[in-house]
């Protein structure tokens, strides 16, 4: 069953078109990755799905309901959430307060406590620093906190915007293992990534954007072998293989 259905979505910033007629589907339990060079419109796509930027045309259906006209807080209440680019940890709040902020719309205090303890169990580094300001965390820990914060909203679909950006190779591996683990527990994932190889390796479906349009979509294994994917990053006729 399709959990998220984006159909014909277009977004403009002033007179500049950022997204043009983009469609994609995430089925329940899937990891779908969105690839593309800088400026291809990947972040805009995630923001438009959340409702944080207005769509000029097209619609978003989540869990069978048309949410196109709903503001972000209503969509998040339905189980959609975003781990934003650059993590956007709140540095004037403590680690624990950042986690609680993720659950700010929930009233089931006891379940929130239990789930927070589960997140501390998963990320012992966060548990050790729970009372410290979030600005004290390393980049990798901040990414774990951003994901933990998103989990506190009890999402059905988690959108991650370039989560591996700026992380050490060790943390990148941990991150992708975590994404697999969460997915195995039933979470659906829409993943925007620069690390094409790793993203295609975990994904069940993939879409490639170029200048705000979908240029390729389908099976990640087939896409990984397609020379046009490298062209989307490096420009027409690029022959050199990707660095990794």
């Amino acid at each position: 069953m399709a959990l998220l259905e984006v159909s014909g979505l277009s977004v403009s910033y002033g007179r500049v078109a950022a997204l043009n007629d983009v469609s994609l589907t995430v089925r329940e339990g899937e990891i779908v990755t969105v690839l593309g060079a800088n400026g291809a419109g990947k972040s805009t796509l995630l923001r438009a799905i959340l409702g944080a930027v207005p769509a000029k045309a097209g619609g978003v259906t989540f869990a069978g309901e048309d949410v196109s006209r709903e503001p972000p807080h209503a969509r998040i209440a339905r189980g959609l959430c975003l781990v934003p680019e650059g993590r956007r940890i709140l540095i004037s709040l403590s680690v624990e307060e950042n986690l609680l902020l993720g659950a700010h719309m929930r009233r089931d205090t006891e379940a929130v406590r239990r789930e927070m303890d589960a997140i501390y169990g998963r990320f012992p580094n966060l548990a050790e620093r729970r009372k410290m300001l979030a600005s004290c965390l390393s980049g990798g820990e901040q990414q774990m906190l951003a994901i933990g914060r998103a989990m506190m909203a009890r999402p059905r679909l988690m959108m991650l915007d370039e989560p591996s950006l700026g992380l050490s190779p060790l943390f990148v591996s941990k991150l992708f293992a975590l994404i697999r683990e969460l997915n195995a527990e039933g979470l659906s994932v829409l993943l925007v990534e620069q690390n094409t190889t790793k993203a295609l390796a975990v994904a069940h479906g993939a879409t490639v954007l170029e200048l705000g349009r979908v240029i390729m979509a389908g099976d990640p294994k087939a896409l990984a072998a397609d020379p046009r994917l490298q062209e989307a990053y490096l420009g027409e006729g690029a022959a050199a293989p990707a660095p990794y």
Binding site: P72, H73, R88, L90, L93, L101, H104, M105
Partner: protein, 290 residues
Amino acid sequence: MLLQQLVNGLMLGAIYMLVAVAFTIAIGVLNFLNFSLPGLFMLGGMLAFGMMKLGWPWFLAFAGALFVAALVSLIVERFAYRPMQGSDPEVPLVSSLGFLVLLENLMLIRYGSDQQPFPALMPDMNLRIGEVVIGIAQLVSLGISVALVAWLSWFLAATNAGRRIRTVAESRETALLMGIDIRSLVPALFVASALLAALGGILFAVNYQQVSPFMGEGIGFKGVAAMIVGGMGSIWGAVVGGLLIGLAEVLSISMLGADVVNITVYGLLLLILIVRPQGLMGRPATREKL
């Protein structure tokens, strides 16, 4: 005698404190120096006076004055703040200053420009501790102010709504992505700061038994000074700043004479700005607020 002056200074400082906290909420969360707040302070005192003059019991008059102040603050939000979202922060500052002038002149038309005597609510009830005399009304005001600010500080630190407010204070963009409904939060903050300012005005009227259409100006600007002294955007900074300005004012009246009050108060402000530009409890040049 010095002890008596210290007590009086703290009582006055409690009122500055309420105004300073109102300012600090507006600037700390909304980045908006809301100059309608002195007007709302005055509205609290003047309307409580007006309604009691109509024969209303004091508690109804106070509730009515607070209600009207909250309502006016929503109008300020709608017309001075919301349409100016995309512009420089100075633009809503000036339009809110317009509201201050408007409110003052509306009260001027209704009640005239003279000082009006505010009826004594708790006549001749004083506590005597040795040489020091403490009016019950003063003590009650101090208690209410401190309790309210302590509650507010707890609310911001320990509730979901408080965390939402602190998130908006740090980054509106992040708040939006976290599903915080900024459009309903902003009017709520305007109401909260209006209630603090108007309550300050009512307590001022009760303590000093006089009101006038221009009572907000001097106090409003000292409230701003108190906020800056304490550190902009810090609640406890506003508390410290308010009490400090109140003490400085009362002590300089008794020791140096009434003529130099403003020199002392604003001299203190200048001194603190030179020595510690971020204010006593402010954090230097970060995004951290409240």
